[in-house]
Structures are given as structure tokens and as C-alpha cells.
Symmetry: D2
Subunit: 309 residues, 4 copies
């Protein structure tokens, strides 16, 4: 559990990148969003923001990718900052034991999604974000939050990806109408869906993602975005629910709070120590980045950053 | 996140005990095991084993209680020590999103229980423990493990409780036969059930439980029971699956790996810092100790021991 | 099992009507379609079209009501007439064991609805009806079919009811998008939904409904709408799936193929003997007409028309 | 729909038997009961008891086979005769939409099985049969009922088959304990299971089965076993629930009440016209006799005996 020196860590990241390319087991890119289906899976990048302010990086850490579900962490952070604990009357805090877009549990639980990181739950959070705001204003809020957290104004939405989802995202549309039928969506489903598709379509690099996550790790240099108590709770949710029905496995293998996206991104938090952005677009059977998860596991083994000792 | 001095902590534990008695919201004792149904819910004890070897305690920390599902941590530790990762071919590592004794997911997942802490999973672990052993030998192994971990030979099985469950535990019998029908139980269901009912009927005090958990917190004075890598993984499982379908909520509120039992016990691990035994027999809606969970939350707030920063 | 003479039957229908008013146990009108929520539940009408061409009636047999799901029988009849057995590749023929608008089984069965009489299945049938047609043409086809079967041009769509559902039918919208996400909806969900809401909003009287059902009973005077083999199969589907998760109970109590609608209508078929239209808008716990079901049961007892001997 | 003369029907049955052998598509024998797994699937027999007292037969109509789930009709008939409608407080009357031995719905519906023909429901019926009787007496009652219905004392239990199930029937054991955990099993699960396994192990020929079913068809020569009202209801249950999750399909294809067993037997009822025993041990995907179902469909087409006109 002694911490590796940054120099060693930089070397480790280079070796990890080579190892992953040598393994050549990239998984498959998500094919349900046409714009994402064309991406070459054989890519990998990693960036580590350390407590002392250093940023280590390796591979394609400067390549932009679609953060997709990782955006759910930031939209939830906005809502927690704005209305706090009230959000839990509309969405639960339990792992779902189900796929990210399952509609099953939603029926059993009368329209209250299991947690804010499955799609139904994220739609409710987005819907809350729209209270008293237009979609444009709500998007500006999420984007502003991320830019402030990363201290980087050059973070944007890829409109082609948003449009691609808007055209094909029938399962999300089904979830939105279903939530509405239970009275757990307050805005026009098309507004909520449009806002949701757009914040999922935010593009970032590994470096930007690692910077944006520093506040979650409560790093000394990070901008203060949320109270420490809220940060802890957000990390707890990432630990138990951050990877859909692969969350238990990720906690078991890696031991750090994290959130994945179907674009192949991964934001991993080592509380007090580091914020890590990883990207590799090939996915495993649960829809999480295959090589990204492996990289997180190796990093945890090397650094001893597991929160479990 | 600075650590409280032991003297302050001792005071805090006393105050916590008074507060809990003053609140007078004890929950209901488990009524499906007749021997446990008669216990007065208005009881509370807590013991904290610290890294420096000190043991702080308050309330009824010396009162024996039935550890029930907390025993699943120790039987899993025995199996991990003996056969290691092979056990995961028979049982998963994902939160269940379901009650502790649900049979639903077992059908959907073809007889491979979701995780080792729901009853079906614990039956599989117990069944593995019986490989090459009689029930007496397997029980001796679990009990021996706990006594060694606690460095205390005075830990016993309450045979009246074991007999009470053997008579009334029809749902566990159903689970055992169901596992057998999928070929995921190798021994006579009655052997596996008998062994399971007996290790659940182990009696401990909060002090004994805190001592027995020190190895999980990897405390300097603790006997070495498992490799650090296995400890981390056991803690990860406790974090994501330790409280049935209330696991996400516990992680959110407390932020430490823990395991509850329907006897009202709670073993909470602060990696590197402390092992905590709590007991209050009144349960909440998920079957976890109502005041025990509150005590764990208050303790986490006071000490800053959440693993999430 | 000897058949009652028409004179006796006419007397029976009058007595039945009085009895039902005397019982004063009307159930509750459907409240999820605002236009239907305002109807007084204390109403009852019945019309019996006999094999000899006679039409017996009692109570409010001439009052128009919204046929709602009864329209599913006629839209399915259109599709069976047009493409025949091919429809079964898109929808099953098994009772659902679930509510009429459940989305649960749809997920388990990968987007192939259990049967054509639950909402998801009826949407697929409507979608098939739209192949090579505009919504206007498809609606004209269903309406034309019903008018031809009833030999009555005065059957219309209540546009206020259709509009009321279009505004509030979020669960049906969810089902449509969900089907689309599995590729089991070929048209724009809004087209399919619009067509569906409109054919459900057809208004008929008990007399018109009894006349429209004569072909299903294969009565000598009825217009030939489908081959006898197809009629038998349509009746079989009405028997096993005609009342959602109350179908088994209806078969048990009444013993005749029938289809209910949430408007309180009921079309009951006594093969070779009679076609019966019943209306009473108060519903039971399964969403079927409470007094309508009772009337069908009493009629079966009086006439011996149960198909089960 | 005019009825075929017996002479034509006899010829038809011979031709049907040859056709089925020529098709050579027998399905697979049930393999979960070792004693049944060894049977050659390439066998077929049929016997038709007509209203005029004639018995037509073809193929191996005199070969004994294990009636298995067909016995559920007779045990339910005994219970209906003895306690009548009270049984419905313990078991429902709805198709299950699930496999014959599913435990899923049982959890959702709090231990009240969906219908008396899925295994859980049949266990409840058997348990009711044991009220005030020993297993020996209860078995004597069922066997006595069948012998009286068939007017044939030479119907026996195959004890090797009963013993084979008792050893391997873990899923039924799970169901029994599960029912017990909900308080919906009154006797020792082993008693109920033993009685159940034994009545399922009754051996009959097609001719005996056809004779035993005459009372269900209310044939003039049949012994009176139940009131006409109860007969109708038993037939309704066979129509909606007689073939597990293939019941809708059977009703659609054949249009007659029937009950299948995993031994490959099929009892089909043409109310007022005939009682039909069929046997072919190869099963289809739903666990129903593959060639038996085809034979029933062809027979319905030939005779016009569908109850649906």
C-alpha cells in the first residue's frame, strides 16, 4: 500500500499501453449508435491527475471521444448541488442487477428507477435538471460544470452523435414515455430526451476527463464543486452502480469508484490520491471498455489505490 | 478527514449509545426464526478494534448474539483460502437487486447465485466447504477460522438456534433443492443445509466480532488469515453485496465495507484503521439492523473513515 | 344443455338487467383515458344475435360506447385475411399472465409480444395493417371490415376519445418505441400509435357489436368475412387471451370465447349459436367489465352455451 | 363440421398412424426422469371413445405408459368432488406463461400457484388431497377414481418410475419447500411429494385413458364422476392451462380441452362427442408430445370437433 513514485508510475503507464496493444483483445465497439459504430476499437489512452498537480499520460490521452454515460456523473453532481437529497424521492440508490437500458425493474418498482446511472435514472436526473430551465440552459449548466471542474473551456458537444442517438434511440424513448406514464417525468419526453442525448454526446480527451474528475477525488488543487459529504456519496454510487450489471465485478477487480460510458471512456477515482481518465472504445459483454477495465485493474494493483486496503 | 483521537472516540461511542436509546426507534426483530423472535429489540452494543491494538466499547458490547449471515464472510474466507478463485465458477460477484432469500434471479441465471452473500450463494459456498469433509469437519473449520481470527477460543454455536432454523427454514430448503436441480449443489441438500444452519448459529459478542474482523481491515496486530489481494476482494464484495437489496443505500450512507445478519449484528471494516462490531436486534425494511446501520453512519461521519474520501 | 327458446331468453335478458341494477355493484370506470373517466358506471345493456336471425336486446343495448380493445379482434381479422399466418412471426399466441400494458414480458421475449390482444401485440398487428397503406387507409379498412360484418354503415370513430388517448397514452407510446427498438415496428411509432388510438376509439352499440360478431359465431345469416379455419383460430385466441390476466378466470366462469374492452364492452361468441354484445362501463380488478362478465356467466348458465359441454 | 362416420374415422386413424411413422419426426423423450429417458421415442398410439360407446384404436393403443401430469386432472377432479370451490383459495385459474416447473411466478404471487396444472399448483392439490388421509389413502382415492372412471380395475402405479422421480426430482422438492415457506403446504413436504410422485407414476394405455376421460366429455355411457358444472370448469382449465406455456398454441391448433404429460401421453376431450387417449413419447420444445399434438390437430381437422365451431 505504499504509493509508487510518479516517475515509476509514468513508466508503468507506458508499459501498460504497450502491453495492451500487444494483447490485441479490444472487444467490440457499441453498434447501436451509428456514429460510434465506425470507430476503430484498437485504441487506448490514459491520463492520471495526481494530488500534487502533476498530469501523467500515455497512449492516445489527447484524443477526443464521446463520454456518453460518464456525463451522468456530472449531471447528477449538478442536481445534487442544486436540490440536494430531494432527488432520491424520484430515483433509488441500489445497484440494478440489470442491463443499462432494462425496463423490467422499472415496472416492478412503479416507475422509480433503481439508481441514477442506469438510463432510466439518468433520464429522471436530466428531467430534474430541466426544472425552470430550457434544454439549452440545462445543457449550458452541465457543460459549464464540466468546464469549471476541468478548468478548460474547450469542451464541446458533438452534435452529430447527439443527432445520431436522437434518430435511433428508441429504447431510451420507450423509457422516457414509460417514466412519464408513472408521473416520474415532468417535462415533455422529447425535451428530456433531447437534453439527455446532448449531454451524453459531450466529447473529451482522457486528460480533460482526468482533470474534470479531480474534484471527485478531493484533490488539493481541484476546484470545489460539491461539499465533501456529497462527494463521498457520489463516489459510493459510482462504486456500487457505475458499471451497470458489471459493477460488482469492477469493484472486485479494481476496488475504486468509477463510471464507464459506451464510447469506451472510464473515469476512475482514487480518493485523495488521483483522478484517472481512460479510453479504449472496444467493449466487453457488460458494455464497459474491455481494455479500459483491464488498465484500471493493473493500475490498482501497481499503485495500491484500491479503497479496500 | 483527520482521524479522531481514541479518547474522543470513546466519548463518542458513549454518547452514540445514549442517543440511540433516547431515539427509541428500534425496528422489529426477525420473526421467521422462532428462537430469535423472542429477543428484546431495545438493545445496542458497539466495539471498535483500532490499529494500535486498543479495543473501545460501549453499551452491550459483551452480550452474545447470533451472527447469522455475518458468518458468510468467514465461510467465504475459508473457501477463498482453500480453493481460491475457482469458487467464482459456481457463484457470481454482482449485487442481486433482490431480497436475501429470493429464488427469482436463481431461475433466470440457471442456478448460479448472484453473489456469495445472498442465501443461495452462501449455500453454494457451504457446499464447497463440504468437499472432502463431513459437516462436523466443515463446521470445525469455520469455527476454527473465526476463533483464530479473534484469537479467542470461547466462540460457540448456539444449537437451539440451529435446530430452530432446521425446523422452519423452508425457503432455504427450497433454495438448496433448487440449486441441486441445476447441479450446483454437490452434497446431499440436508448436509449442506445442516452445515449452513449451524455456522449461521454461531454466537459472538461485539468485542469478539470486532476482533475477528481485524484481519479484514489488515490491522497490524491481526493474525494473517488471507493474502492482501484476497482481503481487498472480500471487502469489495462486502461493499457491493453486504446488505442484500439495501447494499447501495449502506454504501451511500456509511461508505465502509460491512456485512449484516438478521440477528441484528453488523461487522464494519475501515481498511487500515479499524474493525467494528455492532449489535442491535431490531431490523429495518431490508432486514438489516436499524440502529446498527445508524450507528455505522454516525461513526463514519465522526471518524471520516469512509473509504470514499 | 338443451337450448332455451328465444321467448324464454328474452324474458331472461330482462330479468338479468333488473337483477344487475338491483345488485348495484358496478365496479369503477377506467380513469386513465380522461374522456372515459366521466362515464356513469351504473349502466348495462345486452344484445343477442341468434342463429335464426333474431336480435334480442335488453337495457341500454342501443347506447353507443367506446369499443376500445374489442377493436383488436377486428384489426387482427383484417390482417389474418390479408397476410394470414405470417403475422405469427411477429407476435405469439400464448396467454401473457400479465397486465394488458405490461412491458416486462416484452423484454424477456426480445420484442415479440405474447399475443395479439395485449397492447404490445395489438400495436404490432396495427403496424402490419399499415404495410403499404396510410393511417387513413388502414383505419378505413378496419372500419369498413366492421361495417361489413355488422351490415351497418353507421359505425364511427369518436375523435375526442382518440385525441384523449393520444395525449395521455404514455405507456402505449413506451411500448411502441420499445417494439421499434427490437425492430418489431416498421412504421414511424407515431403513425402506428395514431392508427391504434383511432381504431380503439370506434363507437358501437351492443346491437351493432352483436351483429358485427356474427361471422365469428359462423351464424348462417352472417356475411362471410374469414375462412372457417381462421374463425376457429380467432375464437381460440379470444378464449385463451381475450381478457388479459383474467382470461383463465373468464374461461372458467363463462366458457365462451370473448373479448373485453376498457370502455366496458364485451363481445361473446357462442359458436354456431349466437353472437352477444354486452356493455357496462364499471370494471373489475383485471380491467374487464364487472357486470358484463357476470351477465356473460349467467347467460352461459341459462343457455348452456359453454363450449365445454 | 358434419361429423365423420365411425368407419371413416377408423380408417383415418390408421392412415394417421402410418403418416406419423412416415414423417419420422418424433421429438426427444424427457430425460430428467431416468426411468423415462430410456424409452424409444418412435412410438405412437391413439384410442377414441365415442358417444355411442364404440372404442376406435390404432397403433400402440394398448401399450402402457406413464401418465405423469395427466394425473393432475384426476387428482383435481377428486379434490373438486370432495371440497369443491374452496380449493381456489390456495391455487389460481390463470395460464402461467411459464414453464411447468417455474418457481418465478410463485415468488411474485406469494406462494399461490397460478393454476392447478403447473407443478406447484398440482402439489397444492395433492396436499389438499392429504387432508385427513395418509399418503396410501390419498393414492387409493386417486387410483380408485381413475379405475371407476375407466371402469377398469387393472390400472396401477409403476413404482420404479415413482422411485426414480423421488430420487431426482429436486426441482419439485424445491417447489414443495417453497410452498411450505409461504404456508401453502399443510403436510410434511416429503409426504406431499411422495404422494405426488406416485400419482404421476400411474401407468395406462391409450384405451384406458380414453375410457377414463369419458366423464369429462359427458358421454352418455360414462360413469357420473362430477356434476356437469364442475366438468365444464375442468375442461375450461384444460383448455387454458393444459399444456404449460404451450397452452395457447394448442388451443389455436387443436381447439379442444386437453392435458399432456411428459411421458408423452395426451388426453383430449371433445365435449359430448368423444374422449381421446394419445401416446407418443417424443416431446416438443414445451414438453408436450410432438406427434401427439400433431395427431390431435389432424383429428380436429378431420372431425370438426374443435369447440370453436
Amino acid at each position: 500500500m505504499t504509493m509508487a513514485a510518479p516517475a515509476d508510475l509514468a513508466q508503468f503507464l507506458e508499459r501498460l499501453t504497450s502491453d495492451i496493444h500487444a494483447m490485441d483483445q479490444w472487444g467490440r465497439v457499441a453498434d447501436y449508435i451509428p456514429e460510434l459504430a465506425r470507430i476503430d476499437p484498437a485504441q487506448f489512452g490514459i491520463a492520471v491527475a495526481l494530488a500534487d498537480g502533476q498530469m501523467l499520460q500515455a497512449g492516445q490521452a489527447g484524443q477526443r471521444f464521446s463520454i456518453q454515460s460518464i456525463s451522468k456523473v456530472f449531471s447528477l453532481a449538478c442536481v445534487l448541488g442544486r436540490i440536494g437529497e430531494q432527488i432520491w424521492s424520484r430515483v433509488g440508490r441500489e445497484p440494478s442487477g440489470d442491463r443499462f437500458d432494462s425496463i423490467l425493474l422499472l415496472e416492478q418498482e412503479k416507475g422509480r428507477p433503481r439508481n441514477p446511472f442506469i438510463n432510466a435514472g439518468a433520464l429522471v436526473v436530466t428531467d430534474e435538471l430541466l426544472t425552470g430551465r430550457t434544454p439549452q440552459q440545462a445543457l449550458a449548466e452541465v457543460l459549464g460544470f464540466i468546464r469549471a471542474a476541468a478548468e478548460d473551456p474547450e469542451i464541446h458537444i458533438d452534435k452529430a452523435v447527439a443527432a445520431s442517438e436522437a434518430e435511433t434511440g428508441h429504447r431510451n424513448k420507450a423509457l422516457a414515455h414509460y417514466l412519464r406514464s408513472f408521473g416520474n417525468l415532468r417535462n415533455d419526453p422529447d425535451w428530456t430526451l433531447g437534453t439527455y442525448f446532448h449531454h451524453c454526446a459531450i466529447e473529451m480527451t482522457c486528460v480533460q476527463l482526468a482533470r474534470a474528475g479531480r474534484f471527485l477525488a478531493h484533490l488539493p488543487e481541484a476546484p470545489a464543486m460539491l461539499s465533501p459529504a456529497k462527494l463521498r456519496r457520489l463516489n459510493a454510487l459510482m462504486m456500487t452502480c457505475g458499471h451497470y450489471d458489471g459493477s460488482g465485478n469492477f469493484a472486485f477487480r479494481v476496488g475504486m469508484p468509477a463510471k464507464s460510458g459506451v464510447g469506451g471512456g472510464l473515469l476512475v477515482i482514487a480518493p485523495g490520491r488521483a483522478s484517472i481518465g481512460i479510453w479504449s472504445p472496444g467493449l466487453d459483454a457488460w458494455g464497459n471498455s474491455q481494455m479500459g477495465t483491464l488498465a484500471a485493474e493493473r493500475l490498482a494493483d501497481f499503485t495500491g489505490w484500491s479503497v479496500f486496503g
